[in-house]
Symmetry: C2
Subunit: 116 residues, 2 copies
């Protein structure tokens, strides 16, 4: 059993190509003994976005706070806000964008532990 | 891809033995095509608690709002609050309790999809 608060988890800048103004935390992962899944948290600062990309694994998201969009394979921008959940299936092209100029977009991004 | 808000998801009373004043929502599950995991949300009302129980699968939790305790195998009560993450390993005895008299404890509880 493990309990940790987001404020206690180290935050690192995401250097991945296509990412802008994004930081990452990993509150729960395989190193904690989690059998299947890891929980990461991404903070997308104003004017920031994750890469417009795809990968062979799914993720499940929860919007802790903020407003933004989830860009789909067709380029459509689905609005997302505090309290929203999202499922991105394996190989779906996607991107998260912050649409506020003064507040971060903070999202949980849960993935199979092998991908964290 | 799916986006849904917690306010749009049907809430049902948990009738399980040992549960008191608990409601459940399932924003993301295997029926959405999720390959591995389901995200449920439990609302534990004041004076409420989940069963003190164990099961052969893990769960990962995030406290959306409220204050409570996570009871461990030894009976210790670990405080939990908004912004906390928890990992409960397979077969660990555990229980969530709301410790506020006027506000709900709302937690994400992510489990392998087979168990939802």
């Amino acid at each position: 059993m493990k309990v940790t608060n987001l404020n206690e988890v180290t935050k690192v800048k995401v250097d991945m190509q296509g990412a802008k103004n994004v930081e990452k935390q990993v509150p729960i992962s395989g190193s904690d003994g989690s059998p299947l899944f890891a929980f990461r948290v991404f903070t997308v600062e104003p004017d920031g976005h994750t890469p417009y990309h795809q990968h062979p694994f799914e993720h499940i998201n929860y919007v802790i706070e903020g407003n933004g969009t989830l860009v789909t394979e067709s380029g459509e921008e689905l609005p997302i806000k505090t309290g929203d959940f999202a499922l991105v299936l394996p190989d779906e092209v996607h991107q998260f964008k912050n649409t506020l100029s003064d507040k971060p977009l903070i999202i949980i991004c849960a993935v199979p532990k092998e991908y964290e």
